[in-house]
Each structure stands twice: as C-alpha cells, then as structure tokens.
Amino acid sequence: MSGSTTNKGYPYPLLTDFADVQDAYRLATAVDADLRADQAPFRAFEGRPSFVVRQTSNGSGYLSGNDYLIFNAVDWDNTGGAKVGASSWIQPNGQAPSWWMFGATVLTVPISGTPVVGDLVEGRIQVITTDQVSNLATTTYSTQRNDETNTAGEWVNVFTMAAIYRGHVSAVLELNGSTQKALSAGSTFWGFYMGPVT
C-alpha cells in the first residue's frame, strides 16, 4: 500500500500494488483513529467526567467526631472512580493534574435524645492530593457549618474547587454535641472535571 489521500493521509493501494486484504484493515484503522482524534474536544466537553453518589441508609449515631458519606448508590459516574460501598471518590491514576469541583448535601438525622440547639454540625469536603515530584499526599478541607436547630435534621450544602493529582475526595459530617446524630440517608456527594492544571 503506497498511496495516501491528500488531506488526511488515509492509506490506499496503487494500481501497481498487489491486492492485499490488509489494505482494508489499514484504511479502517486510519479512519478510526483520525475520527477519534477529531472527536476528542467534543467528547471532552459533552462527556465531561463527573459523578453523583448517595448514601441511602442512615449511618451510626455519634456525639462528637466525624463520619464519611458512604456510596450506597452510584447514580452517575463516567470517571470510574466512584464505587458502590466506598467512602472516597478516586481520581483516575492516568489523569494529569486537574481542576475539579466537588460538592455535597450532608443531611443529619437524630439518633437518640432531643437535639440541643446550637450543637456543632459541619459538612466538609476532604481533598487528598499527591505532589507529582515528592509523591507526598496533603489533605485539605472545605467546610460549611449549620448548627443544630432541633427541626428534624440539619442540611449542610458544601462545595469547593481543587487542583488534584491522584486525588481522593470525600464528604464528611463533623459533629460536636450532647445527643447522638448520624449521616442521614439521602446525603449526596458529587464532582465534575473543570480542566487541566497547566
């Protein structure tokens, strides 16, 4: 096969060539790869990496400390990083350092006792990212605090943007109080890719 098209360089046999069934293979794979490359910017935008997960049952009650939102349901994921039963979304290892946006609606449910107005209730996005050179991991938090109101559970909406590489990201409920509460069923955690870090 010694000829190629003018614009795209697709290979084809000349009249002087021996006919070879693999000419079809070469042409098909050349077209395949070329179209894939042409589609890349469209796929990157229209198929933006993103995920949405939920905890679908109440967590265990506690007075003070923190608990992680569990991915009982993966409602959407085209990243491959959100797994049922996990508590962290994991950035694809092959992805270059990237900007992501993450958010959560962290719901609480009273487990025992009458919730005390003013007890601390915080929702957090925990971001763990890795330094490309040193390979050291660092952890940062973004927090929204909506304290206890004793009105059938609290709602905390928290979100953040982060530059991450080999990152792990979680949604967390932080409590400090005198009656037991827990992460409620329905708590939702999401994230989407915003672009490369250059």
Binding site: V21, L27, A28, L35, Q144, T151, E154, W155, V156
Partner: protein, 207 residues
C-alpha cells in the same frame, strides 16, 4: 462475505488477512465510515447546544409556616438555544411553572437560591431551607438549611449548589421552607427573588 472485525472506537468493519473479501465487505466498511462521520457531525453540532436556563420568581410568593413550597417561576431570564432539541427550549413551560424539565438525558449543575422576607424574627428555633428536588416527591433532594440569628427580621436568604443526573423528562424544582415562632405566612423576597439555574455539564450519551 468474510468474518469482519471492527475497529476499536468507531466500530468500522473490515476483513482480516485470512478472509476472502467480497463486495459486501466493502459496503459494510463504507457504511460504517459513513455512520462514524455522521456521529462526529452530531458531536460537533451538539457541542454548541449544551443548554442552560435561569428561572426566577419575581412576584411575591406566600410561604406557609412549616410547608415545603415549590416556587412557581414567572420569569425565564436565560433560555438559550430555544429551537434546539438538546438545549432548553422545553426546559420550562407555562403549564408546569414550577418545573425545569430535561429534554434529553444529561448531567446538570443546578444552583438554587431563595430569600424570605421575614415579617418578624423567627426566634431560637427558626430555620430557612432552600431545596432542589427531583420529580416532585421527596425521594431525592439537595439543599441547605440554616438558622438565622433569632432576632433578625426582614430579608434572609439561603442557597445551594447541586449536580443531578437526569433522564429525559426528569424535572427539578426549587422549594422553600421556613419555620419558627411567628405564625406567618411570609413572602418570598422580591428585591433579590428566588432563582433556579441549570447548566448542562455532560450528555449521558457521550463517553
């Protein structure tokens, strides 16, 4: 006809080395290349049609104490691509004024925002809640709830960001809730009115 193999991405059929090639093999290959180019053209045309919409409630809406109230929108301030089946021509319709309905399967970023004009302070157990809910029921909601300072009256707001995977026909609503010591009802704020904004992040069909 040969037993045809396919390329990895566009699924273009082609005969392999040990095959006896027939005319139909070339036809299959040509048809697959044709379809691959059509698919590429569709990605290209859809690229500019990722929809977005901003819906507001300018007129005062009465909010009963303790009732989660869906906001009926009376102003659609951004409605781009109204002729596009992909975009938001049908996101909102006057017949269902509380709903923003997905015209195609997609993932959206939804920003919900709501203000309440408190005629009197809510007291120590008062809360304001903004909710973005899927398909009317309470099965899946995202939002934010907080307690204003107990002595504050007048305008109070809350907002929330959320992401939703939607099927065609799924709809999102903005709902507001308040409770506290006063009997109410209170109106939504008309100076900075309630608003629900959606922007497509991704199409489920593209991977």
């Amino acid at each position: 006809m040969a037993y045809l193999r396919r390329t990895p991405y566009q699924r273009i059929r082609y005969p392999w080395a040990s095959d006896v090639v027939s005319v139909s093999d070339v036809q299959s290959m040509a048809n697959d290349i044709d379809q691959a180019i059509v698919n590429t053209q569709k990605l290209s045309s859809d690229f500019s049609l990722m929809g977005s919409v901003i819906a507001k409630r300018n007129a005062a809406l009465s909010l009963t104490k303790g009732a989660l109230t869906a906001v009926s929108f009376d102003s659609i301030t951004l409605n781009n691509g109204s002729d596009s089946p992909l975009a938001n021509g049908n996101w909102w319709a006057a017949g269902n004024p509380t709903r923003l309905t997905a015209p195609v399967p997609c993932v959206v970023l939804a920003s919900g925002f709501g203000g309440v004009n408190l005629g009197s302070a809510l007291g120590v157990n008062g809360v304001i809640q903004v909710t973005i809910g899927l398909n009317g029921g309470g099965a899946w909601v995202q939002g934010n709830k907080f307690s204003p300072i107990s002595t504050v009256a007048g305008q109070v707001w809350s907002s929330a960001l959320s992401v939703w995977p939607l099927n065609a026909g799924d709809y999102l609503e903005l709902k507001l809730y308040w409770t506290g010591t006063p009997a109410g009802p209170f109106n939504t704020d008309t100076v900075i009115p309630p608003q629900l904004s959606l922007s497509m992040l991704a199409l489920k069909s593209v991977s």
